[in-house]
């Protein structure tokens, strides 16, 4: 099911609209069909989609088509804004107890990633100066306790275990242990359970009663489908959740479940898990998630990822260059080197608007390609790198020879570079626009 970027689909829908000044109901309806499809394919709950589409239609009909925005972008802007509103506001603050040990309880279905997330959250908290204690209260799954112990060891945090006795007793004992050993946060890893398993849900209620958690966080797999709502609703009604953590967002799931759950329970999404490493936990940003659900890439996360991998000084220089539109092939080369530090390429590419992973299918982005690109750029003169427009046919041939590639490869690289530059320009325009208080481009 190849999914084209929503923007493109809507462009087609609105092609015949050129020259019109207002969006008519029929135009909007047609666009809404595409949006509905995009949301359903992103696993947003059917009912939520229905309400949402209705709301957006109302807002969109009769809207003036803004100058310099095509109707497609106009509609997407509205959709995007509404999505952000539905998922926001950004609320990633965790509630800590003022005087006592804070208690965080992690709950969720089997396989949603609770144990790993416990480790990640523990590490995150220890980085901000807390002294977390991980508590192994999953007594059902074989080797779950061992798993938490290993995770704890990896992140350098103590793990409280008390064998396979009652999880309520374990939790209580852990709290005491924390008191005695100077831990100020306990993170309880509970067993995965089905929301319809009455007995086990009751167990959670008893743990809650025994240790009065400051946070009860539902861990949700971002690949979850329509059922996410049922699950979250049940957990919420029985435990009164304080927030959500969305996991496995490093895949290509568009994570519509996030939207559904937020819409239905009202619980804020606090963190997202974005990788297998224990450092891969990030605060949640509604605007980025909105872009992802609509299949529009995630430039902000990309930039952030870049800045965390690149040293700050270089990042500042790059930013300066982007702003002044002085981005050259040399910077491109530098960037490629940095990109390789950031992680797998397709993951990064998927964050760039218009580079949806589906579109990249068949295009092999492997490390070898990067080596070629490096070689090509290295075969250029300094002047050529600074000003690629002077690269004519004979220069292309020379560069191809020098780098052991073909002229086609050189052409492709130059084209890629031009695209990147355009993207950068768009970004910096956006930045300028914001300063002048004008509207924002919808998809960043």
């Amino acid at each position: 099911m190849a999914f084209e970027a929503l923007t493109q689909k809507l462009e087609v829908v609105f092609k015949r609209l050129r020259g019109k000044g207002k969006l008519s109901e029929a135009d909007v309806k047609q666009a809404m069909r595409e949006i509905r499809l995009a949301l359903l394919e992103a696993d947003v709950n059917y009912k939520v989609v229905k309400d949402f589409v209705q709301k957006v239609t109302e807002r969109a009909v009769g809207q003036e088509v803004m100058e310099s925005l095509t109707p497609a972008q106009q509609v997407i802007k509205i959709v995007h804004d509404e999505l952000i509103q539905l998922m926001g506001p950004k609320d990633t603050k965790l509630n800590f107890s003022q005087s006592k040990v804070s208690v965080f309880m992690m709950v969720g279905l089997q396989g949603s990633g609770k144990t790993t997330t416990c480790g990640k959250l523990g590490l995150y908290l220890s980085k901000v100066g807390k002294r977390p204690l991980l508590v192994a209260a999953d007594i059902y799954r074989p080797a779950a306790i061992k798993q938490l112990q290993v995770v704890g060891e990896k992140v350098g945090l103590p793990v409280f275990t008390a064998g396979e006795q009652d999880p309520v007793a374990i939790s209580k004992a852990a709290l005491e242990h924390a008191h005695r050993h100077g831990n100020d946060v306990v993170i309880i890893d509970t067993a995965g359970r089905l929301h319809i398993d009455d007995e086990l849900m009751e167990e959670l209620e008893r743990i809650k009663e025994a240790v009065t958690p400051n946070e009860i966080l539902l861990v949700v797999d971002s690949m979850t489908g329509q059922d996410a709502v049922n699950v979250a609703e049940t957990f919420h009604s029985r435990l009164h959740l304080t927030g959500l953590i969305l996991t496995k967002l490093d895949g290509d799931a568009r994570g519509g479940a996030a939207l559904s759950i937020k819409a239905v329970t009202g619980c804020p999404i606090k963190f997202i898990g974005v990788g297998e490493k224990l450092t891969d936990l990030e605060p949640f940003y509604p605007d980025r998630m909105a872009s992802r659900i609509l299949g529009m890439g995630d430039v902000l996360s990309l930039i952030e990822k870049a800045t965390s991998a690149i040293d700050q000084e270089k990042a500042r220089q790059l930013e300066e260059k982007i702003r002044k539109e002085e981005f050259t092939l040399e910077d491109f080369l530098e960037q490629i080197k940095q990109v390789r530090k950031m992680g797998s390429l397709d993951q990064i590419m998927s964050m760039i608007p218009g580079f949806s992973p589906q579109k990249l299918q068949g295009v092999e982005f492997n490390e070898k390609e990067l080596v070629h690109i490096e070689a090509i750029i290295n075969s250029m003169t300094k002047e050529e790198r600074r000003n690629p427009s002077i690269i004519n046919g004979s220069r292309r041939r020379r560069i191809a020879m020098g780098s052991g590639t073909s002229v086609q490869d050189v052409n492709r690289l130059l084209k890629q570079f031009e695209q990147t530059r355009k993207l950068m320009k768009q970004l910096s325009d956006l930045e300028k626009g914001r300063k002048k208080g004008r509207f924002r481009l919808p998809f960043f």
Binding site: M1, L37, L40, E41, A42, D43, N45, Y46, L109, Q110, G111, S112, G113, T115, Y140, R141, P142, A143, A144, K146, Q147, L148, Q149, V150, V151, K154, L194, H195, I196, D221, M223, T224, G225, Q226, D227, A228, N230, V231, K248, D250, G251, D252, A253, R254, G256, A257, E276, S344, D346, Q347, S350, P357, N366
Partner: protein
């Protein structure tokens, strides 16, 4: 208890609600019209069958309504069930010893648990089974598999955490040959299908199986969590390319999720669902029966 009862029983919680809904729709509209079909679409999409597969099912249904002159709501329901059943390729897993079963999937779908259940199932059938703990990545995965191995009463070949998964499989194959095992089941680390390097690692496991045990039949099973949404299609596609999937094991069907995305996968990739996981017990794995599945959904 047979599969039919069992699956139906575990789906009953969902089913009631859903069936009522459908029956409500069907009864309300004594005449079958566009609205009826649209509401049926809602039911199908809510079961994670997805937009395009649902549209396909419904357009077939419309054809049928016309050609077979379906008038009664009850007939409509039966006809839709038939359409769902028809989507699944009628393939069964036949074990011809020696067989290597590669069990693959994304993180947290229940691969290790499924292997425990499979091992038990084959053991009960009198087959000799060896498990290969090739999930060397996740903390304590090998321990988890060992516990399942004990429960099922089969041997487990394992290495240290962080060691080469292919080396574990290699050893398991040697052990399998020496001990004349009928089936070697290989547990693999959960991996997102978008991680190219990890998918390469999986291909390597497949190649090792081919090379080290040419006379064995290789069966690749994709374990799919029934709660998964449309992303499962992308998963199935990419895993299929990597290890030539033989079929799917649909797990966690004892929740309220319907696993409807299996319909989309079957329809798009022609992949059969071979087993259904319906609980946490060692015998909670049943052969998949499309009829029971359709009955349980509608």
């Amino acid at each position: 208890m047979g599969f039919f009862e069992r699956l139906k029983q575990s789906l009953v919680k969902t089913r009631n609600q859903l069936a009522e809904k459908i029956e409500g729709i069907i009864k309300l509209s004594a005449k079958i019209d566009e609205d009826t079909l649209e509401e049926l679409e809602e039911v199908l999409i809510s079961a994670d069958i997805g937009v395009s597969a649902s549209e396909k099912l419904l357009s077939n249904l419309k054809e049928k309504v016309k050609t077979e002159k379906i008038r009664l709501p009850e007939e409509l329901k039966e006809a839709l069930k038939e359409e769902i059943i028809k989507v699944f390729p009628a393939e069964k897993l036949e074990i011809v010893p020696p067989t290597i079963i590669l069990v693959v999937g994304v993180n947290g779908v229940g691969k290790t648990t499924t292997i425990g259940k499979l091992a038990y199932k084959f053991k009960v059938q009198g087959k000799k089974v060896i498990l290969a703990a090739s999930d060397t990545f996740r903390a304590a995965a090998a321990e988890q598999l060992s516990i399942w191995g004990q429960r099922a009463g089969v041997d487990v070949v394992k290495h240290q955490e962080g060691s080469d998964p292919a080396a574990v499989l290699f050893d398991a194959i040697q052990a399998g040959k020496a001990r004349r095992a009928d089936i070697i089941i290989c547990d693999t680390a959960g991996r997102l299908h978008t991680k190219k390097n990890l998918m390469e690692e999986l291909k390597k496991l497949y190649r090792v199986s081919e090379k080290e045990y040419p006379e064995a039949r290789i069966v690749s099973l994709l374990v799919l969590d029934a709660t998964t949404g449309q992303n499962a299609i992308a998963q199935a596609k990419i895993f299929k390319e990597a290890v030539n999937l033989s079929g799917i094991v649909l797990t966690k069907l004892d929740g309220t999720a319907k696993g409807g995305v299996a319909v989309a996968i079957a329809s798009e990739l022609n992949l059969p669902v071979l087993f259904a996981g319906v609980g946490e017990g060692i015998d909670d794995l049943e052969e998949f029966d499309p009829k029971a599945f359709a009955d349980a959904i509608l």
